[in-house]
């Protein structure tokens, strides 16, 4: 029966591909090429880093493999987090579940079908990013294509094991807490725990790897390098398998890889057995809506005090109300709070000795904080239009302009995004004690970056709407999500590039080796203006036009 379910997926894929028009083939080929370019950029960065580490005398190889183990641990954690977020929607709220549960299929077959879908959603993108790293590793270590095959052979059980954590947790959560209110509370507490664990991992200071002087003695540093990185987790087994393959110890590699596959098979078999007992209880509970009586007072909406009695106020009120009632968003908010703290902690731990270096980092913070903001935009702003989902008809048939809907989405994102951008800017400048010019420039740039990322998020979200998806990850990992993220990264990079000229003049003036040139500053400001006009207006207009014509 499971084979039949798999064939339906294969048939769906074939049908989709066979119905692509020439335009769709061309468009998707262009996006694939852009994706390949992005992966190549990552590969280049990884190669430079590994090449540098490999060049360190005596301990170069140790550094490379320690970094590999840490990267795999990070990948493992990211897939665990991602599977926690996807498993709930895939296993309990997918559109096809009603059909599957009504069909003469056993619970275990349904579980296998939906849980593997969850594994794919949770891990494909994170797994893909490993490929440029492994190719960079092959180049630096002069490894053959056999190593890549060894990597590919050990990758699936690694990702499967990581995803099993989220799937197993969700199965038990829904079984033990079928009441929606209790489940929500447990979900939030779990997210909070996850945030704390994430913080603890960061506060363990993995930067010791590249800063030997942070450890007291050389022996301690060598001990750190040689010690297993989380030896009880599959990431370490995977890392060991790769190390053995690199050394040409194929027998030992085979044993490690077989152990990974066996472990994945056992864990998945255990999960499938468990699903036979608990899946239906959780599914049944998930069908029951939350019964929480709320009263509605017919007084002006809070948003109307600011925006007046226009539909915008009602749209913003609807957005706020529905967003905060969805418990899945709370867990993400908690993770963001954790992320901001970890980010600021990382800034504080940077080994910066001179005031000039600290100011330089404060300026470069526009880039790194911009990347964080882009990731938040991908999670919250870009999906906002698509999350109207099947209720889109309500707005589309109402006397509301598409631009007004987009403005509402922008406003709802802009406030928290600007607050986070401001917080990152102000706190980083304060921690680094940046000089006044740099502090104001970087803060101003970050605030504009935050707003531009929101504007692009709404614009690209409208350009690539997906109203029929059942999982926010399908929106994020779609072609549109990829284009949005690439555009954001390009925009942030371009911002750094155009603002580099006044920063350079500022530093040269401080060092007494140059003077401030107003013409260069004006050219830089004009370029920044043009960049922002394009970033704010182009995706917005394209998105508005596409959404008006959406069918």
């Amino acid at each position: 029966m499971w084979g039949l379910l798999l064939r339906r997926r294969a048939r769906t894929l074939v049908n989709t591909l066979s119905r692509w028009t020439a335009y769709e083939w061309g468009r998707n080929a262009a996006f694939a090429a852009a994706g390949a370019a992005l992966l190549y950029g990552l590969h280049y960065g990884f190669f430079r880093l590994l090449f540098y580490l490999g060049g360190v005398e005596l301990i170069g190889k140790l550094l490379i493999w320690k970094l590999t183990a840490m990267l795999l641990l990070m990948t493992f954690s990211m897939v665990v987090v991602s599977s926690l977020l996807t498993a709930l929607t895939t296993l309990y709220y997918s559109y096809d579940l009603k059909f599957l549960f009504k069909a003469p299929l056993t619970l275990r077959v349904i579980f296998l079908d939906k849980s593997l879908e969850s594994v794919v959603f949770a891990s494909w993108m994170i797994g893909l990013i490993l490929i440029p790293y492994v190719i960079a590793l092959m180049r630096v270590e002069h490894l053959s294509a056999g190593f890549f095959a060894a990597f590919l052979a050990a990758l699936p059980p690694f990702l499967l094991l990581a995803s099993s954590f989220g799937i197993g947790f969700t199965l038990l959560l829904l079984y033990l807490f079928p009441s929606s209110r209790t489940r929500d509370v447990v979900w939030v507490i779990s997210s909070l725990s996850l945030t704390v664990v994430y913080g603890l991992v960061r506060f363990s200071q993995p930067e010791k790897l590249v800063r030997p002087d942070a450890l007291k003695v050389v022996a301690e540093y060598l001990g750190f390098l040689q010690a297993p990185t989380a030896p009880y987790l599959p990431s370490w087994w995977f890392s060991q398998a790769l190390h053995l393959a690199a050394q040409g110890e194929w027998g030992a590699w085979g044993a490690r890889t077989a152990a990974l596959w066996t472990c994945a098979a056992l864990v998945y078999a255990a999960l499938t057995m468990l699903a036979g007992k608990v899946y239906f209880v959780g599914y049944s509970g998930a069908q029951e809506g939350a019964l929480r009586r709320r009263t509605h007072a017919f007084r002006p909406l809070p948003e109307q005090r600011i925006l007046g009695a226009r539909p915008s106020a009602a749209l913003l009120w609807k957005e706020r109300t529905t967003f905060f009632r969805d418990v899945k968003h709370w867990s993400q908010i908690l993770l963001i709070i954790g992320l901001v703290f970890v980010y600021l902690f990382s800034i504080r731990r940077l080994p910066l000795d001179s005031a000039h270096l600290r100011s330089l980092v404060s300026f470069l913070n526009v880039g790194t904080a911009g990347f964080v903001l882009a990731a938040l935009g991908l999670r919250f702003t870009f999906p906002a239009i698509s999350l109207e989902g099947k209720s889109w008809w309500v707005l589309r048939s109402a006397p509301v302009d598409v631009a007004e809907i987009m403005r509402d989405k922008f406003l709802f994102s802009a406030l928290p995004m600007t607050a986070i951008a401001g917080l990152l800017g102000v706190m980083t400048n304060w921690i680094l004690d940046a000089d006044r010019f740099t502090a104001w420039l970087s803060l101003g740039a970050l605030l504009v970056v935050g707003l531009a990322i929101c504007s692009m998020g709404v614009g690209f979200g409208a350009l690539f709407p997906r109203f029929t998806v059942e999982n926010i990850h399908q929106i994020e990992s779609s072609v549109g999500g990829f284009v949005y993220m690439s555009a954001c990264l390009f925009y942030v990079g371009a911002t750094i590039a155009v603002l580099a000229a006044p920063m350079q003049m500022h530093f040269m003036r401080m060092f007494g080796s140059g003077v401030w040139d107003d013409r260069v500053a004006a050219a830089s400001a004009a370029s920044w203006l043009v960049l922002n006009v394009v970033a704010f207006i182009l995706p917005w207009r394209l998105g508005r036009r596409a959404l008006e014509r959406h069918e």
Binding site: R294, A309, A313, V394, S397, E551
Partner: protein
């Protein structure tokens, strides 16, 4: 009130609706029938501004849907074939939201929303999230939503699906009263009995084309079956003989 002129819609090579011309006058209930895949829902989507026509125009209460969509939509209420509503709003909040979108004054909303909820027997559930509503309850809530802003034009795509007999009767009475007050009603339905009892005129669509459009007595005479009911006329136009042949397989 509703004027469709040369309305057509193509999806690639497939022509879903071809050259549809129709006028529904104030106070008229127009029944729009046809087999599955005939183009009824596509037509509804074009009328309500959810789809752009490939050719032709839609005019609602004198306003073109293409050039003045906001005014056209303000005069119209839609009940779609699937009543998807925001799962994280309550019944009262959904109606409040609709009222705000359509510019209903707050004082009117505060008195009419409780009345509408009462009328559709949704008052006990008014404070519950819509994710806990059944299909029929959501259908009634959407109907309450369109009554809240008193549209001049109602577009209904299978409005009776999921309603219990009492609510079905209530809804039929509401449509009749609204029509008497001058509301133009365009209704897609597969329930021929409802079309027969409620509609002043009936259009039958097959393969994207309107093959018949007339009052019930006129349809009878066109089909040459004066004494038969709408079901017989519908089947004779849409392939009743095939239906008889298919029964042999059961």
């Amino acid at each position: 009130m509703i004027r469709l002129e040369g309305l057509s819609k193509s999806f690639g090579q497939y022509r879903a609706v071809s050259d549809l011309n129709l006028e529904v006058k104030p106070g008229e209930i127009f029944g729009f029938l046809g087999p599955n895949g005939a183009g009824k829902t596509t037509t509804v989507k074009m009328i309500t501004g959810l789809l752009r026509p490939t050719a032709g125009t839609v005019v609602i209460d004198g306003r073109s849907m293409a050039s003045d969509p906001i005014a056209a939509k303000k005069a119209m209420g839609l009940v779609p074939d699937e009543p998807f509503v925001y799962p994280k709003l309550t019944g009262s909040e959904y109606l409040r939201f609709i009222g705000e979108l359509y510019g209903v004054p707050l004082s009117d909303m505060s008195s009419r929303i409780p009345d509408l909820l009462e009328m559709f027997e949704l008052s006990p559930w008014a404070g519950e999230l819509l994710e806990s509503y059944s299909h029929g309850m959501r259908q009634k809530l959407v109907l309450a939503g369109i009554l809240l802003h008193e549209p001049k034009v109602l577009v209904l795509d299978e409005p009776m699906v999921g309603l219990d007999p009492k609510s079905g009767r209530l809804v039929k009475d509401i449509f009749i009263r609204l029509a008497r007050r001058g509301t133009a009603i365009f209704m897609c339905t597969h329930v021929l009995e409802i079309a027969e009892k409620l509609c002043d005129r009936i259009g039958i669509m097959i393969g994207g084309r309107m093959v018949a459009c007339a009052t019930l007595p006129e349809l009878h005479s066109q089909a040459g079956q004066g004494g038969d009911d709408l079901e017989s006329i519908f089947l004779s136009l849409t392939g009743g003989a095939e239906y008889a042949a298919l029964l042999r397989y059961l």
